[in-house]
Subunit: 124 residues, 2 copies
């Protein structure tokens, strides 16, 4: 492998084009992790990913690449709901916690009332 | 407006092409809600949306369109994190609930121990 192909990012390698030093993908899609670009390319398309990276400040681009990869990964795992399936699941977990919390809080009120009742009984 | 353009789905209208009765977008992107297609088109691209719809069973396509619209909407609202920002937020809420629950459960143990201690004191 030539030194030139070593410098190619995963995007340029998969799109079979020359990777320049100012390539928008280069810092976020290293050639060592080809799946990362392959996933976002399959779901969003390379041109949309480039647009989304260009749209934000440079210091935010790492988070854009990471969140797009997460979304793409979820969509490949679950072609119907993607990461919206995870959001639904987390909402259900939150609802369960709210129910548990309400139950435990009700229980604490009962125990406190019993405590008070028992004290009053001894005082009498 | 002619009856032909009335039958166009939002996708074919925006892409300026003829909408056939077997158009993949037609049932999920009605012309009455142009923003719905506009958002998924901007984030995923029309061709990727069509591929994702075609990939699943017909009865699942409504959910695919809905979840893609949700993701696209989130990405437009939050270009850095998209709906992954919501997932992070929900995880934080779950962590808060776990802490609250642990605190209330500890509290109930204290109250029960006090109750037992107070009974024992009266018995003595």
């Amino acid at each position: 492998m030539s030194s030139s192909s070593n410098r190619q990012c995963a995007a340029c390698k998969q799109l079979r084009r020359r990777c320049t030093s100012n390539c928008i993908f280069l810092p976020y899609f290293p050639p060592t992790d080809p799946q990362r670009f392959s996933f976002v390319h399959r779901i969003f398309g390379a041109s949309n990913v480039a647009k989304m990276l260009q749209k934000v400040e440079e210091h935010e681009r790492g988070d854009v690449a990471e969140s797009l990869y997460y979304e793409a990964h979820c969509r490949i795992q679950d072609p119907v709901y993607g990461c919206v399936g995870i959001i639904t699941l987390l909402h259900e977990q939150i609802y369960d916690f709210q129910c548990q919390l309400a139950k435990v809080e009700a229980e604490i009120q009962v125990v406190k009332a019993q405590q008070l009742g028992s004290k009053n009984a001894w005082v009498k």
